[in-house]
C-alpha cells in the first residue's frame, strides 16, 4: 500500500490526475468526431457548450438536479453536468442537435410542437433527450409511469400536462 504522501505525489505527477493539464480527447457527438484539448476537470456539459458551441444542451443547475443537460451516452440518458468530458471518449454521444434525422423531426419533437409542450424552451432539449432514451425500444408506458420517470426533468414554465400528452402520443408513433 502506498502511503498517503506518496499517493499525493503520484497524483501530482500523473498527467490525467492534475485537473489543470490539458489532455487530448476525442469526443464522438452525433456521429462526428471532435478532437479537443481539454483539462481533465472539464465537464461534458461545458465541453459541449463552451468548446464545441453545441449549446442545445442546457445548463440549469450544474448539480444533476434539473435534467436540462440530459444527453445520450451509448444510448442511455446521462446528465452532462455530472459527466467528465475525458470519461466520454470512445462513447457515442447524442445531443439534441442530433435527435432529428436530418430535416425529419423525432416523433417526440413533433409531438412537443403539436401539444405546445414547451414555453420558454430552456428545459425542452433535456425533456426530449430524457424521454427519447427512456422510451426507445420499450413498450408504451402508462401516464403514471411517464409522470414518475420524467420528474427528473424540471420545467419551471410547467408545460407538464402538455409534455405528458406529447409523450403519450409519440410513444405510439
Amino acid at each position: 500500500m502506498m502511503n498517503p504522501a506518496n499517493q499525493t505525489q503520484f497524483i501530482d505527477q500523473g498527467l490525467a490526475s492534475d485537473p489543470t493539464n490539458r489532455l487530448p480527447v476525442t469526443l464522438t457527438i452525433n456521429g462526428q468526431a471532435y478532437p479537443l484539448q481539454l483539462e481533465s476537470r472539464v465537464a461534458l456539459l461545458d465541453a459541449l457548450r463552451e468548446n464545441l458551441h453545441l449549446t442545445g444542451t442546457k445548463k440549469g443547475c450544474d448539480h444533476g438536479q434539473c435534467g436540462g443537460c440530459t444527453v445520450h451516452i451509448d444510448g442511455q440518458s446521462a446528465l452532462a453536468c455530472l459527466t467528465l468530458a475525458v470519461m466520454s471518449e470512445g462513447k457515442a454521444i447524442t445531443t439534441i442537435e442530433g435527435l432529428a434525422q436530418g430535416e425529419t423531426l423525432h416523433p417526440l419533437q413533433a409531438a412537443f410542437i403539436r401539444h405546445d409542450a414547451l414555453q420558454c424552451g430552456y428545459c425542452t432539449p433535456g425533456q426530449l433527450m430524457a424521454a427519447s432514451a427512456w422510451l426507445s425500444g420499450q413498450p408504451p408506458r402508462t401516464a403514471a409511469e411517464i409522470q414518475e420517470a420524467m420528474s427528473g426533468n424540471l420545467c419551471r414554465c410547467a408545460a407538464y400536462p402538455n409534455i405528458l400528452a406529447a409523450i403519450l402520443e409519440a410513444q405510439g408513433a
Binding site: 483539462e39 442546457k58 443547475c61 436540462g68 405546445d116 414547451l118 409522470q147 419551471r156 407538464y160 409534455i163
Partner: protein, 754 residues
C-alpha cells in the same frame, strides 16, 4: 380582419426550441471570450476589511480580479426609470451599484469577479480569493428589525397606494355582528427559472466612442440599456442589448441590474468580451425573490354574509438596500363590495437579499390570505363559499367607484362549479373520503389588473410578398413571438406563413419591459399601427401609379386582403403587394407605428377575473397533500392563441400550486445564509406533482382596453390557486392551515393539536 388572431397556431419558435437551435444569453460565441466567476460574501452584515486575490491572480489563465478597490467606477442608479420608482421606500430595486464600496448587506452579495480564459480556471481561481471582514450581527427577523417603513405607494405609482382607509374600518369592525381576525404567513419563494442569469458583455470602439453590447437574459431590454448607459456615462445609443430568448423569468430578470453591470465591468477591465453565468445557488441571492409575509385579515359581516368591513395589514421584508414592498392588498382593495376598507403595508429591512416582483406580486400571497379568510367566514356563517362571494360581488370598483371595463366573474364561478362537480361536495368538512384519503373541494376568486403601456413597432413588406414586423419586446415563454406574428398577419392582410415577427433586441423600435401581464395589450396595438402605416405607404404607391389597377382610387376605398390591395367594392380589381413594389422598383416598404393608452383608464377599472376550484386528497397518516384536480375559468378578454394562452395558465396555476405545497427558502437565523439554495432542496413542482388540470376562457373581448380586446394572462393563473388548494385542504381535513407552504409537518402538527 381577424383571420389569424384567436387561431390555435403552433408556437412560432417551437421548431428552434425542440432542436436546440434557440440561442439564450450564455450561448453567443464571441471571439476572445473570457469567463467571469463571482466571489460572494460569506457574511450577512459588515464591511470587507481586505480581499486577498494574490493566489487567484497567480493562477494560469487568470486575466483579472475585480474588487471594490479596482473596479471601474459606476454612476449611481437613477431614482426613477420612466415612472417606476427604483430607489427608496416602496421602490423597485436594489439601490446600489456592484463593486463600488466595501459594505456587506446580505450573504451571497457579489464581492469580486475573477476573469480567466476558461470557465474552469475562473471558477477555480474564485475559490482562492480570501476575504476578511469586520462582521456585525445581522438583522434577520421581521418582528425585531429596527428599520421598519411604511411606504406610501408601490413603485411610486399614485394609483397603487399602500396605506389606505376608506370609511371607518375600525369602527365598522367593532360594530360588526360577525367578526373574524386571522393571521396568515407565507414563506420566501424564488422564481428559479431553469435558465440561470447570464450576461456576455462586449466593449468596442465605434467611431472613436465606447460602445457596449450586452447579451443578457432580461425581460427589460430598454431598462438594461438605460441603466448600463447611465452607469457608464454613455449615450443610450451606445449600449446595445440583445436577448431573443429568455429561459423563463416569472418576475426575475427584470429589475435587478447588478448582473449585467458586473459583466460589463469585467469586460471593461480585461478588454475582452466576458461572460458571467450565475450558479444556481446565486439565483437565491442576486435574482430577487418574493418576500415572506405576515398578513392580518380582519373581516366584519352581517349574519347573512354581507361584508361591512375589511382590514388587511401586511408585513413583508426587503434588504437594507431595497425598499420593495409586497403589495398584498391588491385583491382586498377591489374584489368585494365593502363600505369600510383599510389596508397597510409595513416593510422590515433585513440583512437578506433584495426582493423583487414574483408572478402575481402582492396578488399571489395577498389574494391567498383574503380568499382563505373569506372561506373561513363562509364556514363560520355556514354559507357556501361561492354564495358568500356572490353576496359581496362588486358591481364596480369599491375603492375608486369606477365601473369595470368588463367583468363576467359570475360566469367564471358557475362554469368552475360545473367543471369540478361542486354539487357533489358535501359541505361538512372531513366528510368525504376515498379509501385512505380524505378528499376536499375548495375554491377561490382570482384577478389580475389589466394594464396597458406605450410601445412602438415597425412593419416591413417586401417585394417577395413576405413581411417582417419588429418590436423590442421579449419572448420569455409567453408566446410573444407567436401571437404578435398572428396580430401582424391580420394587420397586414397576409397569411401567417408569410409573416415573421422579431423581438429581443434594443435596436428595434422600443417596447416596455415584459411584466405585469400587459404585453399583449401594450405591444399588440403598436404592431397593428405599424402594419397600418406600412399598408398606407403601399396604398399611396398604388394610387399614384398609372399602371396600377388601383390608380386614382380613393385610399379609403381600398382594402388589404390575403396579400392584395383591392377595391372594397370590387375585390377583383387590385393587385398583390409585391407587384406594387416591383413596379416602383422598391425592395420593400417599411413603417413604424406606436400606440399608447388613451383616457380609458380614467373612466374604467381594468381587471381580469377568474375562479379556481381545487380537489385535494390528503393522507392523514403522513400529512401529504396531493392536488387531484385544478379547474380554472378565466375572464381575460379576447384570447390571441388558445394553446399558448392555456400553457401560460397551466404554468401560472402550477407555480401557485408550488407556492402552496412545497416552495420555501429558509435562511439560517444566525448567519443569514440561505439554507435552501439548490433545486433538490427548493422543490419546484415536477410532472409527478401535476394534477389533472382544466382551463377555460370565457373569451369576452374587453370593449375598452384597445381594439384587440385582450387583457393579460401571465399572472392570473398563479393568483387564486393557493387559496383554492388551502381551502380544499380545510374541507378535506377540518384543519385550517395559515402558513405557506402547507408541508406535511404542519398538517401533522395541526392534527395532533386538534
Amino acid at each position: 380582419m381577424m383571420d389569424a388572431i384567436g387561431q390555435p397556431l403552433e408556437r412560432a419558435d417551437a421548431h428552434l426550441k425542440v432542436t436546440g437551435a434557440a440561442r439564450y444569453a450564455a450561448e453567443w460565441d464571441l471571439p476572445g471570450l473570457a469567463y467571469g466567476a463571482v466571489v460572494v460574501s460569506g457574511i450577512a452584515r459588515g464591511t470587507v476589511r481586505a480581499i486577498d486575490a494574490k493566489a487567484a491572480r497567480r493562477t494560469p489563465g487568470v486575466l483579472a480580479v475585480l474588487t471594490h478597490e479596482n473596479a471601474p467606477r459606476l454612476r449611481p442608479l437613477p431614482d426613477k426609470l420612466g415612472k417606476v420608482l427604483l430607489r427608496g421606500e416602496g421602490g423597485m430595486t436594489e439601490a446600489r451599484q456592484p463593486l463600488q464600496d466595501a459594505e456587506v448587506y446580505y450573504a451571497g452579495q457579489p464581492l469580486a469577479v475573477v476573469v480567466a480564459d476558461t470557465h474552469e480556471r475562473a471558477r477555480h481561481a474564485a475559490t482562492l480569493v480570501g476575504v476578511t471582514y469586520d462582521e456585525q450581527p445581522p438583522e434577520l427577523a421581521m418582528t425585531t428589525a429596527r428599520r421598519q417603513a411604511r411606504p406610501a405607494t408601490f413603485l411610486g405609482s399614485p394609483e397603487e397606494k399602500l396605506q389606505v382607509s376608506i370609511g371607518d374600518p375600525a369602527a365598522a369592525l367593532a360594530a360588526a355582528p360577525v367578526r373574524l381576525e386571522r393571521v396568515y404567513e407565507s414563506a420566501v419563494t424564488h422564481h428559479n427559472p431553469i435558465e440561470p442569469l447570464a450576461t456576455i458583455a462586449h466593449w468596442e470602439q465605434r467611431d472613436g466612442a465606447d460602445f457596449l453590447t450586452l447579451y443578457d437574459t432580461t425581460r427589460f431590454l430598454t431598462g438594461v440599456q438605460q441603466i448600463a448607459a447611465g452607469a457608464f456615462s454613455l449615450p443610450k445609443e451606445n449600449v446595445h442589448v440583445i436577448c431573443p430568448f429568455v429561459g423563463g423569468a416569472f418576475g426575475s430578470k427584470g429589475w435587478l441590474f447588478a448582473p449585467p453591470l458586473l459583466a460589463a465591468l469585467a469586460a471593461r477591465m480585461v478588454g475582452r468580451p466576458v461572460k458571467i453565468e450565475w450558479r444556481r445557488q446565486d439565483m437565491f441571492t442576486v435574482a430577487g425573490h418574493r418576500s415572506a409575509t405576515r398578513q392580518t385579515l380582519a373581516l366584519g359581516a352581517t349574519p347573512d354574509g354581507q361584508l361591512t368591513a375589511l382590514q388587511h395589514d401586511t408585513q413583508s421584508h426587503a434588504s437594507l438596500v431595497s425598499g420593495f414592498a409586497e403589495p398584498c392588498a391588491n385583491l382586498s382593495r377591489m374584489l368585494y363590495q365593502v363600505p369600510n376598507l383599510g389596508f397597510t403595508h409595513q416593510v422590515a429591512h433585513l440583512n437578506l437579499p433584495s426582493p423583487s416582483t414574483m408572478r402575481g406580486p402582492g396578488e399571489t400571497v395577498g389574494g391567498w390570505a383574503l380568499e382563505c379568510a373569506l372561506d373561513e367566514l363562509a364556514t363560520e356563517l355556514k354559507l357556501d363559499p361561492v354564495a358568500l362571494r356572490l353576496k359581496n360581488y362588486a358591481e364596480h370598483n369599491p375603492e375608486t367607484g369606477k365601473p369595470w371595463s368588463s367583468k363576467h366573474l359570475r360566469d367564471c364561478y358557475a362554469r368552475g362549479q360545473a367543471l369540478i362537480g361542486w354539487e357533489k361536495r358535501n359541505p361538512v368538512p372531513r366528510a368525504m373520503r376515498e379509501g385512505r384519503y380524505l378528499v376536499g373541494y375548495g375554491m377561490a376568486t382570482t384577478m389580475y389588473p389589466a394594464g396597458r403601456n406605450a410601445a412602438t413597432a415597425r412593419a416591413t413588406i417586401s417585394a417577395d410578398g413576405q413581411a417582417l414586423v419588429e418590436s423590442a419586446t421579449h419572448e420569455i415563454g409567453n408566446g410573444a413571438r407567436t401571437i404578435f406574428r398572428q396580430i401582424s398577419a391580420d394587420g397586414l392582410g397576409l397569411p401567417v406563413a408569410r409573416v415573421r415577427f422579431e423581438l429581443g433586441d434594443s435596436a428595434l423600435p422600443p417596447a416596455p419591459n415584459t411584466g405585469g401581464s400587459v404585453t399583449t395589450a401594450t405591444v399588440g396595438p403598436a404592431v397593428l399601427a405599424a402594419c397600418r402605416n406600412a399598408l398606407r405607404a403601399l396604398r399611396q404607391l398604388a394610387v399614384r401609379d398609372a399602371q396600377s389597377p388601383l390608380f386614382g382610387a380613393a385610399e379609403e376605398a381600398i382594402e388589404a386582403r390575403a396579400g392584395r390591395l383591392q377595391l372594397r367594392a370590387a375585390p377583383a380589381q387590385g393587385e398583390d403587394y409585391g407587384a406594387i413594389l416591383r413596379r416602383a422598383r422598391l425592395p420593400a416598404v417599411s413603417a413604424e407605428g406606436s400606440a399608447k393608452p388613451g383616457p380609458e383608464k380614467k373612466q374604467y377599472s381594468f381587471y381580469s377575473f377568474g375562479a379556481v376550484f381545487a380537489q385535494v386528497r390528503v393522507d392523514e397518516a403522513t400529512g401529504v397533500i396531493r392536488v387531484a384536480r385544478l379547474c380554472g375559468v378565466y375572464d381575460v378578454g379576447r384570447v390571441m392563441n388558445p394553446p399558448t394562452a392555456r400553457s401560460q395558465l397551466l404554468g401560472g396555476m402550477t407555480m401557485g400550486l408550488g407556492a402552496t405545497l412545497m416552495e420555501e427558502t429558509s435562511y439560517d437565523p444566525r448567519t443569514g445564509h440561505p439554507v435552501v439554495r439548490n433545486l433538490a432542496d427548493y422543490h419546484v413542482p415536477s410532472l409527478a406533482d401535476t394534477p389533472e388540470m382544466s382551463i377555460e376562457f370565457l373569451d369576452n373581448p374587453d370593449p375598452h382596453i384597445g381594439e384587440l380586446g385582450a387583457r393579460g394572462i401571465g399572472e392570473i393563473g398563479c393568483v387564486g390557486t393557493p387559496a383554492a388548494i388551502t381551502n380544499a385542504v380545510f374541507h378535506a381535513t377540518g384543519q385550517r392551515l395559515r402558513e405557506l407552504p402547507l408541508t406535511p409537518d404542519k398538517l401533522l402538527r395541526a392534527a395532533t393539536r386538534a
